[in-house]
Amino acid sequence: MSEPLLALTGIGKQFGGLSALTDVSLHINAGEIYGLIGPNGAGKTTLFNVVTGLYQASSGEFRFNGRRFQTGAPHLLAQAGIARTFQNIRLFANLTALENVLIGRHARTRAGVFGALFKNRATRDEERASIARARQLLDYVGISKPHQTLAKNLSYGEQRRLEIARALATEPLLLALDEPAAGMNATETESLKVLLQAIRSTGVTVMLIEHDVKLIMGLCDRVAVLDYGRKIAEGTPDDVRNNPGVIAAYIGAESE
């Protein structure tokens, strides 16, 4: 069997005295949609932050696409192929939707000061290609008039989708989404689900945090459950749904 795309071993993260993550190990195979659930404050976002280099793990290490990572260097991880969205949307609020996605192209383009000043052939070609790709992505997630609309004036759902487009612009191998359906209604969530399936079908692996149990169960190949910073369950959606520990900590019994 080939090596998993992402493999975490014994990740721990402390904030002062607080242990947000304790000894978390898991792996994600290429092409999977992998769900991460757990109560509020369980450490899901923290785990994302470790994997995307925004936090440095207090202990443990992870391998991504055959390389070992330990230090927090977000741009290196982005270049290596991990892209993410944020739980509290972090778009470049005062830039247009198109500019937002173009910035996502940064990791995959080269032009430096020389190119900027002299606008040589290579630079112009690269720029043209970037814009074309960005428009394609915006189309894909369904945002119209991207060169006129400021990111912050988009509606909530559009902002979430723009974040996805921006992340896809980095040509990731692994797309990490932190609660993409928060604030969406059931119908909107449904179309998000279709979008994510389409993304997966292009070969991108997806890692997903959600509180919408229905979405997770309908979309993911495998699901891990965190509670108080520890992984308390992992498996297919059905396994997890019926796990008594998960019911107690997260879903709650129907009768309650």
């Binding site: 904030f15 976002t45 932050n49 925004l54 936090y55 944020f86």
Partner: protein
């Protein structure tokens, strides 16, 4: 050893002066996130007002021990009015403007105040009358006088008073709430404008006290005195962690000590290579070193930004 002890005292006095002014900076910064560049100028106006009032009162034959508090109160009232006006005219309309816009108006206010003061009080230096018998005390070979003792005590008392207001009263809670989220504060029934005005007035009253203290200690007042003082106090506030009252106090005292020990010993430390002309360099190096290791100052909030 005597010399060293004296330098410590020098640093404490100077530092308390910085702290007095830094507290005012930090008050306003804490609530609005705005560097009130004009604060140094308000200190200057405080000193000038106090001086004018004092001169007039003494001229009318009021005994010094009465004239002093009365003129302090007058200066405080004047500065509060001034602070209120500055906020109303120059800052409030820009509350939702880009972040640097109020910085520029603050600079504008500072220039205006300086030149107004020059028109009103003239270009010359004013000597501060020696009213009370400023006794010197010998402590372990070092010397400290009454005014200096008062300054040190005053800085601590004011810090304690402010902490009491900010952390123990409903007004203080409202201030902190406004500082964090003005919309949410409004939803609690807080009149945001009023709270901000009160903060400015409080800060300006402090400035008046600082102004009087400073000019009594150095025996002079001048329309330009606010600039450097403001700058140093601002540095002190940042060193301690801007927005934090205890930080302002600590930063002020530390900056004073660094300066006096720097001026006194930098030559010995560098084997005579650098002298007291580099005391500010020394101070800034310490500042940079502190900020490199603690990017939000000594006591500043270190709520790492949540990603």
């Amino acid at each position: 050893m005597e010399i060293f002890f004296q330098q410590i005292i020098n640093g404490l006095v100077q530092g308390s002066v910085y702290a007095l002014v830094a507290l005012g900076y930090t008050m306003v910064y804490g609530i609005l996130g705005l560097i009130n560049f004009a604060h140094g100028e308000v200190v200057m106006v405080g000193a000038m007002l106090a001086l004018s009032a004092l001169t007039a009162l003494i001229g009318w034959g009021v005994p010094p021990l009465l004239a002093l508090p009365v003129s302090l109160l007058l200066a405080m009232a004047g500065c509060m009015l001034l602070g209120f006006g500055i906020e109303r005219i120059a800052y409030r309309p820009l509350r939702h403007a880009p972040r640097l816009a109020p910085l520029i108006t603050a600079i504008g206010v500072s220039i205006v105040l300086q030149n107004l003061a020059m028109m009103i009080w003239g270009r010359e230096y004013h000597a501060f009358p020696q009213l009370i018998n400023n006794q010197s005390h010998h402590v372990g070979g070092a010397i400290i006088n009454d005014i200096q003792i008062i300054i040190i005590i005053m800085a601590f008392v004011i810090m304690a008073g402010l902490m009491l207001i900010v952390h123990r009263t409903s007004l203080g809670r409202a201030m902190r709430a406004v500082a964090e989220n003005q919309h949410a504060a409004q939803l609690m029934g807080v009149d945001v404008n009023r709270v901000i005005s009160v903060t400015f007035m409080l800060g300006s009253a402090l400035a008046a006290i600082a102004g009087l203290m400073v000019s009594a200690n150095y025996g002079l007042a001048h329309y330009y005195m606010g600039f450097l003082l403001g700058l140093k106090a601002f540095t002190a506030a940042v060193l301690g962690g801007i927005g934090n009252l205890r930080g302002a106090m600590l930063g002020g005292l530390l900056l004073g000590l660094i300066e006096s020990l720097g001026a006194g010993y930098i030559g010995d430390l560098t084997g005579g290579f650098l002298g007291s002309q580099y005391q500010d360099v020394f101070a800034f190096f310490v500042l940079i070193a502190v900020l490199v290791f603690r990017p939000s100052g000594l006591l500043g909030e270190r709520l790492a930004e949540r990603a």
